[in-house]
């Protein structure tokens, strides 16, 4: 009789990893096809947004002493969505303001692409975290491989 238990990655870790690298949370719980499909799609959408509008479409808020932080965030509201794209959003937000801005509708389309990519990553992050709480049989996925979930404990 085998009493071997497989290590399961905690749901908060899965969610955090999935936020940082879109789709990576699914890879941690063994759902490779789902992770690659979701991750690549989100990354392609985000990169397409930057390609269409220029990297300046990712423009994080600047916090100035004496002004309300909430008001500062609301002025740059699209960055809420872009930030949700994880490391990509943070990196682009670091570079973006130093580059020349694009204008009008092209900039709007680029902003839309990047913000939607981030919001899709939020959905995927919640889903990956939820799936990490399920037993492998309940994950109900064709490629669920719990053995990929980490080192085996005796």
């Amino acid at each position: 009789m085998s009493s071997r238990r497989r290590f399961r990655v905690p749901a908060p870790i899965v969610a955090l990893v999935n936020w940082l690298v879109p789709g990576a949370g699914y890879l941690l719980i063994g759902q490779t096809a789902r992770g690659l499909t979701i991750g690549l799609t989100i990354v392609v959408l985000f990169v397409a947004g930057i390609l269409i509008g220029g990297v300046h479409v990712v423009d994080p808020p600047t916090f100035v002493r004496g002004t309300s932080p909430v008001a500062s965030v609301l002025v740059k509201a699209p960055y809420i969505g872009q930030f949700l794209a994880g490391a990509l959003g943070i990196f682009a937000g670091w570079i973006g303001p130093t580059q020349p801005a694009s204008h009008a509708r092209v900039s709007d389309i680029g902003t839309l692409y990047t913000a939607v990519a981030g919001m899709l990553n939020l959905m995927a992050t919640i889903d990956a975290g939820y799936r990490a709480t399920l037993a492998p049989a309940d994950a109900n996925d064709d490629d669920a491989q719990p053995t990929h979930n980490g080192p085996e404990a005796a």
Binding site: G54, G110, N140
Partner: protein, 82 residues
């Protein structure tokens, strides 16, 4: 050298928008709708084998919705307002 080629050579990807990209504005929603369909259906479907078909249906539904909304707005502007 022709002007469009010069514009293309002067283009700095990821810094400047591609030249003449707005000439094709009507194609720009398509990749976005496709991406939304794929990610949404990858999350919703129990099996990944269902995703291509389900995502195609969702993609066509979104595009149909956009076309209907465009037609309604066009009619409203053309006949009700103008």
């Amino acid at each position: 050298m022709s002007a469009p080629l010069l514009l293309l050579l002067a283009w700095k990807p990821f810094i400047d928008p591609p030249p003449h990209v707005w000439d094709y504005w009507y194609l720009l929603p398509l990749p976005l709708c496709l991406g939304v369909s794929i990610v949404y259906k990858s999350i919703k479907c129990p099996s990944m084998k269902q995703v291509p078909r389900e995502a195609a249906v969702a993609f066509l539904s979104i595009i149909s919705g956009l076309l209907v909304a465009a037609a309604v707005l066009f009619g409203l502007v053309r006949f009700a307002v103008g």
